[in-house]
Symmetry: C2
């Protein structure tokens, strides 16, 4: 199982702008990923988090969840964000914290079979950013995995 | 009328992470905004642009279009991204270039009246990122303007 430190190193190496955003992995497991980023490098003129940074932390929480699933299944594949929707419900005026869970609705066996047979499968994941106890951002992403 | 240099300075001051992304204003007018960002600071492990950077350049092209409209109308307001959808149609392996036009479908008079009467109005804008002659990203954003 990959540790938060290992996942963080993957993010910083594969997507260097995550270093400027100071994105860190708070926790990760088979079932969930929580990424954090401090407000200061991601701030806007309203002293809240820039919408593009909120998007980046959210999309990477789903990317990371997908990465961990592929590792667990022993599948080598590239992960590409294909489509997403984001709703900004409230401003974030503190640390950005994005959480993604591998919902029990997801048919992992089917996903794995598609990867084996077709070398390609998609994963729909929801992420949310919670700030001061309430949901500030809802994010839906469709990730496509393409085998080598 | 605001020059590309002035708009770029607004972006870099109001949203400092745009400096790390090296976002620049290629052109701007009453009718359109084109933002660019080099691939290198926004690259991912596939040697193409990170989806979060593509999103940021797209959302800021719409933000800038809204900013220019408010300036033209002489309205002081904050601009907040409320909701958006993004479709990634093809990878971007060169300079990111996001283009937003103020569509003739937009009822500017109605927008202005709402700002005057209610101090609040929304604007739906489309942005696209073109790479090597074809559309690589389609972006739809809903921006809310809130008067002071």
């Amino acid at each position: 199982m990959i540790s938060p430190q290992q996942l963080e190193s993957v993010l910083h190496t594969e997507i260097p702008i995550t270093q400027a955003m100071q994105i860190a992995v708070k926790s990760c497991s088979d079932k969930e990923v929580t990424l954090v980023a401090p407000l200061e490098p991601n701030i806007n003129h309203k002293q809240t988090a820039f919408g593009g940074s909120l998007y980046s932390v959210a999309v990477l929480s789903g990317w990371s969840m997908t990465y961990l699933l592929l590792e667990r299944l022993g599948v080598e594949a590239q992960i590409v964000i294909h489509q997403s929707e984001i709703d900004y419900l409230a401003p974030v005026a503190a640390t950005i914290e994005a959480h993604c869970e591998l919902s029990s609705d997801i048919d992992i066996e089917k996903f794995n079979k598609l990867m084996q047979r077709k070398g390609r499968a998609r994963l729909k994941l929801k992420s949310r950013i919670v700030s001061e106890g309430k949901t500030a951002v809802e994010f839906d992403g469709v990730y496509v995995c393409i085998g080598h």
